[in-house]
Subunit: 337 residues, 2 copies
């Protein structure tokens, strides 16, 4: 058990679920502290049957803190997390800021738990669209090295935070009433639309979200040779990202073998019976910690290819669940050493 | 000018737009007739300033008819169109039934007009998701043969007819009010969801909609060697299909060259400035006859690959516009011979 665990950003879209997961999964510590912006400091929240007052996050917040779990925007993570590390804490970070730094571990507990256990400072949790894809790639990669991935995403508005989903729902309501909605988060109307841009332009005509899927996947799988071509698209779904994934492996993996590999892998659930209209849907995966895979089939355009459809709750396994699983992994390791 | 033109299915989602296009583009014939099911026969409609009474479609409807434009379900096309051909008419068919028959021409006027002019009986208009993709592939294929295509679709509910869009709008309204909607057309709720199945299971784990994209593309481009891997997904958009397309060509085609090839091709409009948030959206392409392309970039996973985003109004270029363009082509040819 950790002595003092500090949670930063407990009131955001991901932080809210993280708190609930820590309660549901009975994550124990001698003491919890909740850190927030000056604006939120002083407010109270309920956690594991107790009332906590939010403390203002400063660089001096971390004396005596053993573990930090942070769910904040990139700039907050950049500014404050080094102070936590300097104060001797292990930090689990949900933001995008630290993930690709060489000294930072990027961890999905089902895939590279050793990286978390060896980490000294910050352990980053990957981007939501990356996490569910890498979960699907890992069992294939272990069976035969993944050479190339072509992925198109169908991403939910909750990935843009609470305001993203509010934009979708209020925008949809306005559309149906023939009114205009002033979008807060999205550059184009998201209601009844599809926006082929998530993040800003990064390189070679790809967006920051797309390049996260390239670089983070290689880092987590520890293989810089994997070639990945992503297109990230926002669609009018409130929660759960979907992805069409086509993979080329060194030797062909048949749909039957893939189905077995996926089924045997922890954290993956196969839902795959096209004839009976059975495959994962955002509506059926919402609220689950699993990564769901269906439409598993031979890539009819390539001898070594495999195609499938992958859905996961981006706020859970794509964010909060993965962070909590890392915390549990560290707590278990601490108990055993 | 044709003497007698019979229009079948003028009151459906596509038929309605076809009628409007024939008016807007001032398509002339000595006489028009409107044929419909027994249920609709007797009703009237306005066309080019005149009132027409819908006649019941029977196998004896076609005496003296020179051109038929049909927008009906597959079973109606299968049952009635051979009678039109036997009566000596040229038939433009929007349904899926006849497209792949060897004796039937499958035509996109910008691509293979000669097939329409050589046709004796039925000229089929391709599937909506196929048409916009083949429009995009053609200029590339002419520059360097297309070897392989990986395509993921983001398809609108209007592709499932008027009832499809009504399902989306009524389902969304119900969802926002916390009520249940009894879906008429879709097997799963489409409001705020993504359904990775369009059509029924066809072969190798692919759906009928997906295999249309394979077979129809090869037939239109006249190249059976092109390898195509489609995933067709229905999303909560009322009108305009979007597609992520990755193409491998015999020699690499740079984004700059592709942008020029697309811009020079009739019927294609390039909207491609990621930095300024500019790319085609369903909301901005709605009601247009063009195929829109953006996010043009190098496929970073393959030396000969190119990736882009393609949006088109599935009821227009994907259906009604293409049929009307075929009719115009035939009328022009008739005038010149």
């Amino acid at each position: 058990m950790f002595d003092t665990v500090a949670i930063i950003g407990a009131t955001g879209a991901v932080g809210h679920i993280m708190r609930k997961l820590l309660e549901d999964r009975n994550f124990q510590a001698k003491q919890f502290r909740f850190l927030a912006s000056a604006r939120s400091a002083g407010k109270t929240l309920e956690f594991q049957g107790k009332t906590y007052t939010l403390e203002e996050l400063t660089k001096d917040s971390f004396a005596g803190v053993e573990l930090v779990i942070a769910s904040t925007p990139d700039d907050v993570a950049a500014e404050f997390l080094p102070s936590a590390v300097e104060a001797g804490a292990i930090v689990i970070d949900e933001s995008g800021y630290w993930r690709m730094k060489p000294e930072v571990a990027l961890v999905i507990p089902e895939i590279n738990p050793e990286a978390a256990l060896e980490a000294k400072g910050i352990i980053a949790s990957p981007n939501c669209s990356t996490t569910q894809m890498v979960m699907a790639l890992k069992p294939l990669h272990d069976a035969s090295p993944v050479r190339r991935v072509i992925v198109s995403t169908y991403q939910a508005t909750s990935g843009a935070g609470i305001a993203g989903t509010s934009d979708l729902l209020e925008g949809s309501r306005a559309y149906l009433e023939g009114k205009k909605h002033d979008y807060q988060v999205f550059d184009h109307p998201i209601a009844f639309n599809a926006i082929p841009q998530i993040g800003s332009e990064k390189e070679d005509g790809y967006t920051s979200e797309e390049m996260k899927m390239v670089y983070e996947t290689r880092k987590i799988l520890g293989d810089e040779s994997i070639q990945i071509n992503p297109t990230c698209v926002r669609i009018p779904v409130a929660n759960c990202h979907s992805e069409t994934i086509t993979v080329e492996t060194e030797r062909p993996i048949s749909p039957e073998e893939a189905r077995q590999l996926f089924s045997d892998f922890p954290g993956i659930t196969v839902v795959d019976d096209l004839q009976n209209l059975s495959y994962p849907l955002p509506s059926t995966c919402d609220g689950s910690d699993e990564v769901y895979i269906g439409r598993i089939r031979r890539d009819i355009s390539s001898p070594n290819g495999l195609s499938f459809w992958c859905v996961s709750d981006n706020l859970r396994k794509g964010a909060a669940t993965n962070a909590v699983q890392i915390a549990e992994l560290l707590a278990k390791h601490k108990a055993c050493t």
